[in-house]
């Protein structure tokens, strides 16, 4: 009789432990999948942005053909973004693209005809919109990464994680300036809200920290 009870208790214990382990493992897998999905949200916007670059460069060339260095910097940054494999590399390339675009738009300031071109204004508005969307997608992605990494590195789940080879995910870091620029109001009657003429603004205000 007692052996039956002991056996029952042991079996119940084992079942509970197994269930808890399964739960933790599934939680980690879910977390990793969420990070992947959130990454695709950034990726979509990065691709959209990259696809606009050739058109933008062509447009600016038509009005300001001798600003070769600026074009080349933008094109290089775009190529680097295309090559980027990890979120960290993509973030670095994206930040570079942001700053080269900023100097391109600063250069464009000197060409009133370019400023007036419908095509250019549309591209500028669209890029501005994409930049905002990247910032929001980044926020969602980083929240998920933080959530996942925390679970990965804290006590009960850390054992499961190391047992099954879960690795922490990379954050998508933006330079604070990029975030501040995102707050620039576009679409209203001030088409050339010049991003570069908006020096370190106030990063605190921009991030709303």
């Amino acid at each position: 009789m007692t052996t039956v009870i002991i056996l029952g208790v042991v079996i119940a214990f084992v079942v509970i432990v197994v269930l808890v382990f399964v739960g933790m493992y599934n939680g980690l897998v879910r977390g990793r999948n969420r990070v992947k999905e959130a990454w695709s949200g950034i990726d979509v916007q990065l691709r959209r942005r990259a696809s606009l670059i050739p058109n933008l460069v062509e447009t600016v060339k038509g009005y300001a053909s001798h600003e070769r260095e600026t074009f080349e910097a933008v094109t290089r940054a775009r190529a680097q973004l295309d090559r980027a494999g990890t979120p960290g590399e993509a973030a670095a390339a994206n930040n570079m693209l942001t700053s080269t675009l900023r100097s391109l738009f600063a250069v464009a300031e000197a060409y009133p005809q370019l400023q007036a071109a419908e095509n250019f204004r549309q591209l500028q508005a669209e890029l501005s919109d994409i930049e905002e969307k990247i910032a929001f997608a980044r926020q969602f992605y980083n929240t998920n990464v933080l959530d996942y990494n925390n679970r990965l590195q804290t006590v009960p789940t850390v054992f499961i994680a190391s047992m099954f080879g879960f690795t922490p995910e990379e954050f998508f870091e933006a330079d604070e300036e990029g975030r501040a620029e995102v707050r620039v109001d576009f679409g209203r009657d001030t088409p050339a809200a010049p991003p570069a003429a908006d020096p370190p603004a106030d990063p605190a205000g921009g991030t709303g920290a």
């Binding site: 959130a38 926020q139 969602f140 959530d147 920290a209």
Partner: protein, 322 residues
């Protein structure tokens, strides 16, 4: 700020579960209330038809069963029709990206930032600034802004208000709030009908004394009076079931989403300072809006049954975050 995120997320899962539970109990309560209403009607009708439900327990049982089935049907129908009803009452129309580029882009950005599917965007042509969200779940969600909101707020403030609404979507507040709106509206309607039935019934009974059931008539009248008294209490209690915390929570997660608590605070200031009431809002839908749209005067009763926490308190908390 980043460090707070995981805690927030855990909280959100609890909120979602609590909101789903609340909606369920709300609907069950509503079904019983409606069933009682139908039983009363059934009893009245059968007593006129010459039966005595008080003596015939089989008849009473059948009436009760039928009433429960009908009430359940009404409850289920209501659950699925609630969103459309609320949208129709609000008087808004759907807006595409081409029609309202700025509002649409803001909502699009926030849906990316929160990882929620893109909700349908509605615009209410009213100059009183206000906004609400409705729907069953994030896959079936609607956010609405008034024309006045878009005209009177700057871009950051509008974004903050929509972030508040997206938080209601994300944590399933919309499901409870929408159900409450329709339940409150229907309970008021039923209480009203009840009253008419009673007067009509009492008048008819006086006309034909031989139709026994003096005791029955008294019971029905008593029941009707009880309904009349309790239905506004039920309505208020249901609105209380929402807990006024939901607005604080949506404020803080909205501020977290748009990273701009200051903008939400100044938006709330502008919305609450605007003296104009929103035409299409009524007592049943008032709790859906970000700030009380009825602009009621301050009084003891209004404070007791307030649907929104005091806006000064909300602004103070947001200012403390920024």
């Amino acid at each position: 700020m980043q460090a707070e995120v995981p805690r927030e997320r855990v909280l959100i899962y609890d909120r979602i579960a609590a909101n789903k539970r609340r909606t369920f109990f709300l609907l069950v309560g509503f079904v019983f209330f409606t069933a009682l209403f139908f039983v009363s009607i059934g009893v009245i009708i059968s007593s006129y038809a010459g039966y005595d439900p008080a003596a015939d327990s089989f008849l009473t049982l059948r009436i009760a069963a039928f009433a429960l089935i009908v009430a359940t049907g009404v409850g289920v129908m209501m659950y699925y029709a609630a969103t459309a009803t609320v949208l129709a009452i609000s008087g808004g129309h759907e807006a595409s990206a081409a029609e309202e580029p700025e509002l649409y882009r803001i909502v699009e950005n926030l849906s990316i930032g929160s990882g929620l599917p893109m909700p349908k965007v509605y615009v209410i042509e009213d100059s009183a600034p206000n906004a609400f969200a409705t729907g069953r779940d994030p896959n079936n969600a609607y956010v609405a802004a008034t024309r006045g909101l878009m005209d009177k707020l700057d871009k950051n403030e509008l974004e903050a208000v929509m972030a508040h609404e997206m938080s209601h979507v994300g944590n399933y507040d919309i499901r409870v709030m929408t159900t409450v709106a329709v339940v409150v509206g229907l309970v008021a309607l039923i209480a009203d009908l009840m009253l008419r039935f009673t007067w009509y019934g009492a008048g008819a009974r006086r006309g034909s004394k031989d139709k026994g059931g003096g005791a029955l008539g008294a019971i029905i009248l008593a029941l009707a009076i009880i309904f009349m008294i309790i239905s506004p209490i039920i309505a208020s209690a249901m609105r209380f079931a929402l807990s006024r915390q939901r607005e604080y929570l949506a404020d803080s997660s909205g501020a977290l989403l748009c990273r701009n608590p200051g903008a939400l605070a100044s938006a709330l200031e502008k919305i609450s300072a605007d003296p104009e009431p929103l035409e299409a809002a009524n007592k049943a839908t008032a709790h859906l809006y970000i700030s009380n749209p009825l602009k009621e005067h301050q009084s003891f009763m209004n404070n007791l049954f307030a649907t929104h926490p005091p806006v000064e308190e909300r602004i103070k908390l947001l200012r403390a975050m920024g």
